[in-house]
Amino acid sequence: MLEAIKGYLSTNTTPGEAGSMFWATIYILIITIGISLAVICMNWLERKILAHMQIRLGPMRVGPHGLLQPFADALKLLIKEDIIPHDADKLVFWSAPVVVTMTSFTTFLVVPFGRTHAVTDLNIGILFMLGVSSLGVLGIIMAGWSSNSHYPLMGSLRSSAQMVSYEIAMGLAIVSAVLMTSLQTGTGTLSMIGIVDAQNAQQTWFIFKFFPLGLIAFGVFAIAMIAETNRAPFDLPEAESELVAGFHTEYSGFRWSLFFLAEYAAMLAVSSIAVTLWLGGWMRPFPNWLSGSAWNLAFSFVPALSLFVLAGMCLLGALRMPRIPQMRIQTVGLATFGSLLGFVGLVLLLPGVRERIQDIFWFVAKVAFFMYLYIWYRGTFPRYRFDQLMKVGWKVLLPTGLGVLIATAIWGLLPQLSTAILGVSQ
């Protein structure tokens, strides 16, 4: 058994390519659990970070510094009464959250956490992700329609109109990144692992390629992905202070939590696209500028170090807790959590684990940075009105995306064009 695992871990292919259903299932399980854990973390992080930006503390009582708050919320949602509107279309009502959740989760099949750490490496990877996330829009329309109430219907129509319009801008930005993959080898690739390999081969992250075109394409995608996931400043369909309360008005309890899960999974998915396409996927920072085995060794300590930093913060927090009997259980809990993190950090120091965890750690760190940006934008910006939102999508992002695409194409072809022109003129 152990040899089978060791034997598998030393292979160089993804389970999809190797045709191994067993390992593919294991990877899918790990990814599903991972996304759920990530959503739980995001819930806590969002509440705490947003609270600190608003000079308040956020949850502090449910568990030390509110660490058990997501679990309390999940438990509350599970035991809530399941209300179905009277004349709702029951089958569609039931299946709408299922559709939205399943599409968000399915996009993770091709997300590469490392060179071989994806469930499968489809050679149309990015197209698959884009297509499946578009199916999520169908789920939103189903939710609005089946609620049999005109507020959710209007909300879902607005939400879907917004998502569809920003998908176009996203698509154009993605195409310009994909174009860049064909520069060295002459053949481009839509596969996610292939895109990161192309960045590796060309020795530059695509965000810096053809400066400033890569940056502008990244910017267009970064704005479009926020609108795609209905987050601030584009969250009018979900906002509470508007008349229309959004497509998930009539959903309560577990069904609503599925929508919530799907929204955060979609945020993670589009952030993964951004990371893979422009930020070098799983590659560590400065792979060429600071190259060599010494630098590799230095960077390999970063995962363990970051976990030690987190553990240190927990233990410091435990030290700072008021020393009264009512708070003792929270202090002990926080100290235990901190020691657990420290223990995981120690595990990450082991040489065998250190190499293997590199790719996954850098990928997750970059996606986490994007999640932080989401929370930061929510805390800072006011909301766009719906017509202004559509104006930004169609009149600003679409022309910019087109322009970047054409400019990238011309710049990419410049060597061939110039030899053709100069060659002829000579």
Partner: protein, 153 residues
């Protein structure tokens, strides 16, 4: 459009300025939340809170001389004072003294009107009770004040 506003618009300068403000407030030292009941807010000396009937510190007698000025001054007429003249000391003594806390708006007119220093609005603000009847305070409750349940030592 001249160059600087155009550049400001393209490089999203206004949005980045806003992001800087919220970023700088994130440090936990800026948080102004007081975690009640672990940290109780400080109230200042003139705070108009729970009323109290003062007594003479030496003799323990109530300072109230039943002049009825507080009852006349109260906008809600929630003070009812009954007294009778004690022929020995030739002063009026309190028989019953009722204060309806549920209707009180803590305006302080009664404490202003009191001719001795008997009635005073103290700095106590934890006055929650489970029933309306408990809010009609009699003389004993007014003299010793309220003892709220403390959740932290």
């Amino acid at each position: 459009m001249s160059l600087t506003p155009l550049l400001r618009k393209i490089f999203l300068v206004d949005l980045i300025k806003g992001l800087k403000v919220t970023f700088h407030y994130q440090s936990p030292s800026e948080a102004i939340t007081e975690q009640y009941p672990l940290e109780r807010p400080i109230v200042y000396e003139r705070f108009r809170g729970q009323p109290r009937l003062n007594s003479n510190p030496d003799s323990g007698e109530s300072l109230c001389i039943v002049c009825n000025l507080c009852a006349l001054a109260c906008p809600e007429q929630l003070i009812v004072v009954k007294g009778e003249r004690n022929p020995a000391t030739k002063r009026k003594e309190v028989v019953s003294w009722t204060y309806d806390l549920s209707r009180c708006m803590f305006c302080g007119l009664c404490a202003e009107a009191c001719s001795t220093d008997a009635l005073e609005l103290t700095q106590d603000y934890e006055m929650a009770l489970y029933s309306r009847e408990g809010m009609i305070l009699d003389q004993a409750a007014l003299e010793c004040g309220q003892e709220p349940v403390r959740y932290a030592k």
